[in-house]
Every structure is written in structure tokens, then in C-alpha cells.
Assembly symmetry: C2
Homo-oligomer: 197 residues x 2
């Protein structure tokens, strides 16, 4: 199988470029605890080496709710992933309930807007880099609908904390029925490691 070029795999296990520093069971069942995480473009079949306790995957996709104006606003301030200063990260897989998915697009958009989802997120830019992955329409049955990946500098941890608390207070989050949060710190590369290119 050739992988979707927008597919990313998240591999939790005992090795990886990110070390787990904390976990929060926000709602519903947690994932089995792991000490490390790897994030890879492409399908997990190509990368898992036996150290993975679990793998989740998702694809980036077209925007669903932001308006034209909001989209250009975002694009002008959004930072990219992989900044050398962004040594902290968070992975938040979540699922929304059946009621949410039975709503029409405009119902969902109205809730998104009333909840201030865009404006709450905008306040964290350019400190917090973010990538949203969709899991709901994969061929496999997935435990979550979305995986959001965040990267930021240690000094912006409080900005991130405020972001997620604010979102969890919104009307939109009343439709969330499973959410798990993993906080991470990047593992320094060993300059003497001969396997590191």
C-alpha cells in the first residue's frame, strides 16, 4: 500500500525522539502508558520496530470550519513545526460523540464559532505550532476522531495550558467523549551517536 502523503503515525513505546513528561486522562479511557513517542510521516508498518506499545494515525486534510478571513489570519501568523526552540510538545487524541457527527456542517460551524475556537487558538500564535490530523474517515476503526499535535518552547508552557483549559470550557467540548493528553520533551540528540546521520 502506498501511504497517503498526508498520513502521520504516532508510535508510543520505550523509544522515540520525544520523552513523555506527563499524561492527563481528560475524559474516557486513557492509552496504555509509554515512556517515549515517535512521530513519523507515512504508515506505521514501515517504522515500527517492536518497541511500539501503541500506534495511532491520522491524515491532515482540508479545513472544515475556518472562514476565508480566519484562514488568511491564521496563515499569516502560524509557526511551522520543527523549530529548534520548540523542545516541548503535546499530543491530544480526542473523539466527539454521535450527536456531534449527526449535526449538519452549519450546526457544527455555529458551535465552533460560538465556542470561540478560532479566536482562542489565535491568541496562542505564534508561540504554539499545531497540526491537526483526522482519524474518523480512515479504513480502519480508530479509537479517536482527531489527533492534535502541538510544539512550543518551554517558556510558553503556560500559554499552552491556558489554551487547552479555555477550549475545554466551551460548548464545543460538550461533544467530546474521549480525550487524552500526553506532554513531551524532545530527547537531545547524542552528537557521538554513530547511527545519527
Amino acid at each position: 500500500m502506498t501511504a497517503n502523503p498526508r498520513l502521520f503515525s504516532f508510535i508510543g513505546g520505550d523509544a522515540g525522539e520525544w520523552e513523555v513528561t506527563g499524561e492527563t486522562v481528560v475524559q474516557g479511557n486513557p492509552l496504555p502508558p509509554v515512556s517515549h513517542l515517535s512521530v513519523r510521516a507515512g504508515d506505521i508498518a514501515n517504522v515500527v520496530d517492536g518497541s511500539g506499545a501503541w500506534t495511532l494515525k491520522g491524515v491532515t486534510s482540508n479545513t472544515r470550519y475556518v472562514t476565508r478571513e480566519e484562514k488568511s489570519e491564521l496563515m499569516s501568523v502560524e509557526p511551522t513545526l520543527g523549530r529548534t526552540t520548540a523542545t516541548f510538545a503535546a499530543m491530544i487524541p480526542m473523539r466527539k460523540n454521535a450527536e456531534w457527527w449527526s449535526l449538519t456542517q452549519e450546526d457544527r460551524r455555529d458551535i465552533f464559532q460560538r465556542s470561540g475556537h478560532h479566536s482562542i487558538g489565535l491568541q496562542t500564535l505564534p508561540a504554539i505550532a499545531r497540526r491537526l490530523h483526522h482519524c474518523r474517515d480512515l479504513a480502519s476503526m480508530e479509537p479517536f476522531d482527531f489527533i492534535t499535535w502541538f510544539e512550543f518552547a518551554p517558556e510558553h508552557s503556560s500559554v499552552f495550558d491556558e489554551l487547552i483549559s479555555a477550549l475545554r470550557e466551551t460548548e464545543e467540548w460538550q461533544y467530546v467523549d474521549r480525550e487524552y493528553e500526553i506532554r513531551l520533551s524532545s530527547v537531545p540528540k547524542d552528537p557521538t551517536d554513530p547511527t545519527d546521520p
Copy 2:
């Protein structure tokens, strides 16, 4: 892998419950010609018996463009698949171009509305049963973004012909860069076939 319960597989080959009666290369490359088609819930790995020349798959999903009013209008008149009178079918895989996918939701919704997509479809109800499958956000790289499956009685073939010609004239279809159409007729079940339960 446990399959997404909304996943369907379309298997083109030399056997299947639908016999191919015609094909139209609407735009872009066609699929390899086959004489028969099977449609199965679930993943192809469980059903392919070596007679499949190609397989496509897609998942049904939440609605993307219809309004609240349009959705209830549809639900009140939409026929179900599998009617015994609906012995004709059509499978139309299609892809939209990068420009379409870079538009915001409201841009796409505006084009959908200006194109009369909903009202054109509504005129064919309850004659034409339809199921839309999404392929763009699967983990595998797929040749099409959507597969639409239609079922109707032979006497409604002209209704179906008018539907697809009307849609292909719209602004929305200017964003379609690959489209293939397969027309089908159901294979009568042999009542003496001992393998048929």
C-alpha cells in the same frame, strides 16, 4: 485491522453481483475494464478471491454541505439501497483538483449552492438511491476523492442520465479533474445454485 464500520469496498473483476453494461471515461484516466463488480461492506482483504482486477474503497461520513433544511428534506424522500426493483446501478469514482481542496468550507459551500447540487439531486428522488463514499482521507493513497454509488429501476435510466449531465454542466464540476462512470445491471441469482445461501 478492524475495519471502519462505514467502509465499503468496490471490487472490479470477472465475477460479482453486478454485470458491467457500459463505461464512460468522463475525464482523466479510466480504470482497467472489467466485466463484473462486487460491493462489500468492510475491507477488501476479507473478500477478494483472486478475481479482482482492481479494488476501490471509501467510507460514508458526516454531511459536509447540506443545510439543516436540505438534510431533513433529503431524509424524508431518500430511498434506501437494495430495493428489488432497482436492478440497474452506476458507480462514479471522481477526484477534485488541488484548487478545490485549498478553498475554505464556505467557498466550497457557495459553489455547491450556486451549482444547484442539492436541488438537482432532489429532483431524482425517490427514483434514484445514492450512497456517497469518501476516499481522500484514507491512510492509503487513493486514485479518487469520492465514489458515488447509485441504484435505480431500468425505467428510471433517463432520470439518472439527466442527473449526471446536469451536474457535469455546473461550476462545481469545473473542479473535477478525474471522473469515470460504470453502468451496471444486477446479475439474477440462480435459484438452483447450491453455493447461494
